[in-house]
Symmetry: C2
Subunit: 192 residues, 2 copies
């Protein structure tokens, strides 16, 4: 298993049919993940298309995640914890100013996704809302959303099966409130 | 008032401080709307950033709509009907295949947004989830979403105030189920 240290990220190529396992090693740690078509990176993950085709905003085992071109990118083939978020965009420097009143440098999922994707020719503005594994965003009938600690336990995992050749980037999330107040590592491995 | 005929679209430039009024002329008609930074079209509307900063998935009077760079693009200063959607991506040809079992040509919001935006150098893959004015998407605690007829009545309107110089595209939506089974026009006017 590859280890993503706290508040950092990684990227990899996943071929069609291959499976990617992402593990919350210690528990209560979110991982933002993004998918791009390996052969044309302008095709990328889309929350809006996914909510539309899957007819749900809560995605788990059995659901597909879709691209902006209405193609299936991955299928979730296992999901031990079962709670993920696809509503909120990756945390960035301005998120920390807004929600945490921080004005100095702080690592962010946006930076960690971008740093690992730029080698594939992907620009900052090409980073859409990520699929936030293990993130626990609650929503009420009046639409109000709130970020609460993940319910994931140590060694909980999710497995994605690629539906096309993909570039994948993922993080160990850097936003305190999303991770129950502490920063932990994330594990990943390709299963052939 | 400018009229967008059924199943078509329009675009315009809206300067910072100007207000745009969008009217459901006959009632029960959705309009998908998109905003881009006029001076750099790589900055565009983001549902994920908006849900994050506004802490709600139901946006109405008083809320801002935010960009992928965490900047405010517009403020909703009036909203007579009050129900809008920001979860689902614009309908496209594949939407009609998937949900309506159509395999021939059909106008779509995606095409009508793109056709009106390409003159500004905006590509198909640069079209994110739009803000769907008057669209009535219900969601349940288990995450399931469903599209039901709009509750908007004839002459209901919404007003956006630009927070930066903007390129705006908007449609009279082409998806039957989103509009109570019929296709109607949409009106818009710039209020100085």
């Amino acid at each position: 298993m590859n280890i993503i240290p706290p508040k950092s990220g990684a990227s990899l190529v996943l071929k069609s049919g291959q499976r990617l396992k992402v593990t919350d090693i210690e528990g209560m740690q979110v991982s933002d993940i993004l998918f791009y078509n390996r052969d044309d990176v302008a095709e990328k993950l889309s929350s809006g298309k996914t909510f539309d085709y899957e007819e749900t905003i809560l995605l788990t085992k059995g659901n597909y995640l879709w691209s902006n071109r209405s193609n299936k990118m991955v299928r979730i083939v296992e999901d031990i914890n079962g709670r993920n978020d696809f509503l909120l965009a990756p945390c960035d420097m301005k998120t920390f100013e807004h929600f945490y009143n921080m004005d100095g440098y702080h690592p962010s999922c946006f930076e960690n996704l971008y740093k690992n994707l730029q080698q594939f020719g992907i620009e900052k503005d090409d980073i859409p809302s990520a699929f936030n594994i293990f993130m626990n965003v609650q929503f009420k009938p009046d639409g109000k959303v709130s970020v609460v600690p993940p319910t994931s336990k140590a060694k909980d995992y999710i497995i994605f099966e690629a539906q096309m050749d993909l570039i994948v980037a993922l993080t160990a999330c850097s936003a305190k409130d999303s991770n129950g107040g502490t920063f932990k590592p994330i594990g990943y491995e390709i299963l052939d």
